[in-house]
């Protein structure tokens, strides 16, 4: 039962406020984002899919964007809310630049700002329906953190959103180590993204990998992963358990 939907009695005094509703469910969503710290900075991967419920409606959605000089933001969840967040951050960075002094907001500051925004929206029962990953490098310090739609935030050496938490993080816990080279980092991310591609129904085989270092941010052109479907267990999946798929 939707207790949040506005069912107004006829003589309500609420006025225009009663006509708008708080966010109840997302419409166009992106799936997992996975990120890790490596030798020179942060590597982040996300596919380019935007699902409309169970339909894979949009296949060129960029879910990772640079923020200022030092940070990179990746998002899963409602795409329109991600765009709203980008507008907030655009304004934030604009005012930061307008000071025109030697100071600039680093990834830690942006991450905490986002936490405040997400948590405050959650308190008003009107969340921005996203799980965010914020990574960056400033003055040689690498930073990687995440914020959820209810304002839970933390930092770690590797983070993921959504299904990535269940499928990618265990792989990262086993195989991540300090000072990964760029090639090893990419290989590790691709391993995670491949598992997600096999097992997450909202994943598509078109991904981008973004890298951020002291020098700046680059984002790869979209590419696809090689997949293998000839495992013998796939040949007759109902063999061991009739009725299974």
């Amino acid at each position: 039962m939707n207790f949040m939907a506005s069912k107004q009695p006829e003589n309500s005094l609420l006025g225009p406020e009663a006509d708008s509703q708080r966010t109840l469910y997302p419409y166009v969503t992106g799936t997992s984002v996975v990120a890790l710290k490596y030798k020179d900075g942060i590597l982040m991967a996300a596919d380019m899919g935007g699902s409309y419920g169970s339909t894979l409606r949009y296949k060129s959605v960029e879910r990772m964007k640079p923020i200022g000089k030092h940070s990179l933001l990746g998002a899963s969840g409602e795409i329109s809310d991600f765009q709203e967040i980008l507008r907030y951050l655009d304004e934030l960075i604009l005012y930061d630049n307008m000071w025109d002094d030697g100071n600039s907001l680093g990834p830690k500051e942006v991450h905490n700002y986002l936490t405040r925004v997400m948590y405050n929206r959650r308190n008003k029962f009107n969340p921005l329906w996203n799980s965010l990953v914020l990574g960056g490098v400033k003055n040689g310090q690498k930073y990687l953190g995440t914020v959820s739609m209810i304002g839970v935030n933390f930092e770690d050496n590797h983070v993921a959103t959504g299904f990535g938490n269940h499928l990618a993080r265990p792989i990262l816990r086993q195989e991540w180590h300090e000072n990964l080279s760029y090639e090893d980092g990419v290989r590790l991310l691709e391993k995670c993204m491949r598992v997600l591609l096999y097992r997450d129904r909202s994943a598509i085989n078109k991904l981008q990998i973004a890298k951020i270092t002291e020098e700046g941010m680059t984002i790869s052109q979209p590419y696809s992963l090689k997949t293998y479907w000839e495992f013998s267990a796939f040949a007759n999946p109902a063999q061991g358990a009739v009725g299974t798929w």
Partner: protein, 273 residues
């Protein structure tokens, strides 16, 4: 000549293009007891003269910690200074809460200056009657700023404000080129010496001066009286040994200080500083 006609409102210009109320506010700063600041690449030291009204009372607080990385010394209407310190502390706390990062001192100083400017452009307000020496750390190192009641702010290597500050300024002008690379302890010694200059021969004791330090790896804190007295003692000894050479210098400075001392007595509003 026209000073009296155009000095009632802060929003009235004089024909010469001056705002007398603002200038009078800056006078209030000059009447306050001295405060000095100096900085190196990594540290900033603030010092001030604290004279109690009588032996029975405590002295007024003129140095305030604003955050771990920012502190301020004031001269002038200490009540105004207290209120502005509270504003600065609030800004620092709010920034820290949102960004989990210290507010860069350069930005705080601009906010403070903008706040002071508002009071120079509202007919129902008066300018703050306090000058602030803001010491703090930034991404780019250690900084010392001076905020004026006019809404101007300047960055300094070393500066002194308040009564008889000219003596301290003269001392600092001679020595400032060395400050950038000074060690923290030398900087503190220079600060205490600069304060001594403003005392015009009166004995320097830790009970009448306050010293505070902030630096990279060293949060802002006020040095306790015992430490300050120890440092004073070390160079009283050195001064005795130097004795005859120091005297011609002392004579020059007391002459300069006396000129300033004379003008301060001339009928400007007696502020309880």
């Amino acid at each position: 000549m026209f000073r009296n006609q155009y000095d009632t409102d802060v929003t009235t210009w004089s024909p010469a293009g001056r705002l007398f109320q603002v200038e009078y506010a800056m006078e209030a700063v000059k009447q306050g007891s001295a405060a000095i600041g100096l900085r190196s690449k990594t540290h900033v030291v603030l010092g001030c003269v604290n004279k109690a009204n009588s032996e029975l009372s405590s002295h007024q607080k003129k140095i305030f910690k604003v955050d771990d990385h920012i502190g301020v010394a004031i001269a002038g209407l200490t009540a105004d200074g207290r209120v502005l310190s509270r504003y600065m502390r609030n800004e620092c706390i709010n920034y820290n809460f949102t960004y989990e990062s210290p507010l860069p001192v350069g930005r705080l100083v601009v906010q403070l200056a903008d706040k002071a400017q508002v009071c120079t452009q509202r007919s129902w307000k008066r300018p703050y009657g306090v000058g602030l020496l803001v010491a703090g750390l930034d991404e780019s190192g250690a900084h010392l700023y001076y905020n004026c009641p006019s809404g101007n702010y300047f960055e300094y290597q070393a500066f002194a404000i308040g009564s008889r500050s000219q003596a301290a300024k003269t001392y600092l002008e001679r020595r400032f080129e060395n400050f950038t690379d000074s060690s923290r302890d030398d900087l503190v010694k220079d600060a205490i010496t600069a304060i001594r200059e403003t005392l015009q021969g009166e004995t320097l004791k830790s009970s009448i001066c306050t010293i505070a330090v902030v630096g990279i790896g060293e949060p802002f804190h006020i040095l306790d009286q015992g430490t300050v007295q120890q440092i004073i003692d070390t160079f009283e000894i050195a001064a005795e040994q130097e004795g005859p050479a120091a005297e011609p210098d002392a004579a020059e400075q007391s002459a300069a200080a006396a000129d300033q001392g004379g003008s301060t007595d001339e009928g400007v509003a007696p502020m309880d500083i």
